[in-house]
């Protein structure tokens, strides 16, 4: 490591400190080379066939051979049951998971629980839990309650667990930014900790929390399709069932899911503006 020594005209000299950004940059480049090599190895035996993309898009978003556009769109309303199931488990999971996240978030906040050996382990366990991929959470949920009879319970539990992790983390980060002066004031009136949380913390996080709930619901609807890859019935199931035979039906499901996401996004924008 060379340090640049600069001498001023009056004879004084200063040492220009070494900029650590170069070390970071070097590490990133080395990592990039290693990662690039890994990707190259993985891609070797695999045929990359970009010419297929337009064909697939055409199959997805146009009527099946011998059918009309009317037939194409007539399929979408038939998906209403599976759509309702998807929305039901996303809604139930989001609300229950968000409610469960509140105590954990309070326990993980540095400014509420001032003891390091409480919020430290609470945070670590939460972060560990958050590393479990949603597909594994779904496998656990199926193991717990099963998926017999078209029940959405396993899906609800999977989304509950996923929401719990995401929400607890977002919430404790939010709680750590709130103004704690009023907490002190309410404690000075003789309130218990729970009462101080109720009157000083909750009013401050209420609006943002509601916004987060809508945001996570939206995220859950978008990612619910993945649950079908481990056996939970959702819109994604349509994509799986017909992927070899009827791409037009898959296309319908894709349009429906995207449409629902757009509607939720518009509603959530409206709701968040009202909450501010």
């Amino acid at each position: 490591m060379t340090m640049a020594r600069l001498t001023l005209t009056n004879g004084k000299s200063v040492v220009k400190p070494f900029n650590r950004i170069w070390i970071v940059l070097a590490v990133v480049i080395v990592l990039g080379l290693i990662f690039g090599y890994i990707i190259k190895l993985d891609s070797e035996g695999i045929s990359f066939k970009p010419d297929q993309l337009p064909i697939i898009l055409k199959k997805l978003f146009s009527p099946h051979r011998g059918e009309t556009w009317a037939d194409y769109f007539a399929y979408i309303p038939k998906l209403q049951n599976v759509l309702i199931m998807t929305l039901e488990m996303c809604y139930g999971g989001t609300v229950i998971g968000s409610a469960l996240a509140i105590p954990t978030a309070l326990l993980s906040s540095r400014n509420i629980v001032k003891t390091k050996w409480i919020y430290g382990p609470a945070r670590f366990l939460l972060n560990l839990f958050r590393t479990i991929p949603v597909t594994v959470l779904a496998v656990i949920s199926i193991g717990l309650v099963g998926i017999a009879g078209g029940s959405t319970l396993a899906g609800t539990i999977a989304i509950t667990l996923f929401t719990y992790g995401v929400m607890a983390k977002m919430l404790y980060e939010l709680i750590e930014t709130i103004d704690m002066n009023c907490y002190e004031a309410i404690e000075s009136t003789g309130a218990s900790h729970l009462q101080a949380i109720r009157f000083a913390v909750l009013p401050q996080i209420y609006a943002s929390f509601a916004g987060y709930v809508i945001y996570v619901f939206e995220m859950n609807v978008r990612s619910s399709a993945i649950l079908s890859y481990v056996g939970i019935v959702s819109i994604g199931t349509i994509m799986r069932i017909y992927e070899m035979t009827d791409y037009d039906k898959v296309g319908g499901a894709v349009i429906l899911l995207f449409g629902v996401c757009v509607v939720i996004q518009l509603c959530s924008d409206l709701a968040r503006r009202k909450l501010q």
Binding site: L128, P133, V145, G146, T152, T156, L257, F258
Partner: protein, 271 residues
């Protein structure tokens, strides 16, 4: 006494609205759960399932994890985790590069109010489009593998990165650019010394934050065929092979926790 009695009568009946709202919220949750009957035999099994889940972590398949005892390194779970990490890394890089022009297009300061509207609508569409559907289409259209995973993550990231980059550009302090103008800097010099030093650290920080999200989603997207170890999670899920799943999860936990720690430490340094 009289004044306060009068004021009490005018007290907004907000609690009624809150009560109705809360009751409706809970009623709807109960409605979604209704009909989900659990077989009593299953209820008895629940402790065993939970025990099986945790027992998986006692039976970790070390040879498969690290690639010895008949396993090659390049078929080990660690290797597949590295592959997932690579997909997250290059996906984020691609997303950041693609997001820069779109962010300028969505920035009021740069392109004006009307064109910025077009840019931000484009960003919303990208953000709202489900990543899983994107993965599905690209896997069908381009083929299974890491490159597809990188493309999926890269394209999907543009939505969030572009939005946050655009906000960074719009919140830029213009006075330093004015000062550079005053010392006679030309356009490119203004970008180099006035704009980049302001937005580069913030944009790097945003990108690091997204890296954390992307590595997590790379593990899930593997299930659809976008490369990495995600595919194993679904292959061994029915019936669940808890020892293998636990082995994969250990790799994921280590990888995600390392990325999370490094990303947040670097972000602290940047801001």
């Amino acid at each position: 006494m009289k004044n306060s009695e009068k004021a009490l009568k005018k007290l907004p009946k907000k609690w009624i609205i809150n009560l109705i709202f809360t009751v409706a919220l809970i009623a709807l949750v109960i409605y979604t759960l209704e009909g989900s009957t659990i077989n009593p035999l299953r209820v008895k099994q629940i402790p065993f399932i939970i025990a099986a889940f945790f027992r998986g972590f006692a039976d970790i398949l070390w040879p498969a994890l690290f690639g010895f005892d008949g396993y090659q390194f390049n078929e080990s779970i660690i290797y597949l985790a590295l592959q997932t990490l690579s997909i997250g890394f290059f996906g984020t890089l691609l997303g950041a590069i693609l997001a820069i022009p779109v962010a300028f297009l969505a920035s009021r300061n740069i392109v004006g109010k009307h064109l910025a509207k077009v840019g931000s609508v484009l960003l919303v569409i990208i953000r709202v489009f489900p990543e899983i559907i994107l993965a599905y289409i690209l896997v069908k259209g381009l083929g299974i593998g890491s490159i597809t995973g990188i493309l999926v993550i890269g394209i999907h990231s543009v939505g969030m990165l572009g939005k946050l980059f655009a906000e960074t550009i719009d919140e830029m302090d213009r006075s330093s650019i004015e000062a550079l103008e005053a010392v006679g800097a030309n356009g490119l010099q203004k970008v180099r010394y006035g704009i980049l030093p302001q937005i580069l650290p913030l944009m790097t920080s945003i990108t690091l934050y997204r890296l954390d999200i992307n590595v997590r989603s790379a593990t899930v997207l593997g299930a659809i065929g976008a490369g990495g170890l995600g595919v194993l999670l679904t292959v061994f899920s029915d019936p669940p092979a808890w020892d293998i799943l636990a082995t994969i999860m250990v790799a994921i936990m280590a990888m995600v926790m390392i990325v999370d720690t490094v990303s947040s430490k670097l972000r602290e340094k940047l801001i």
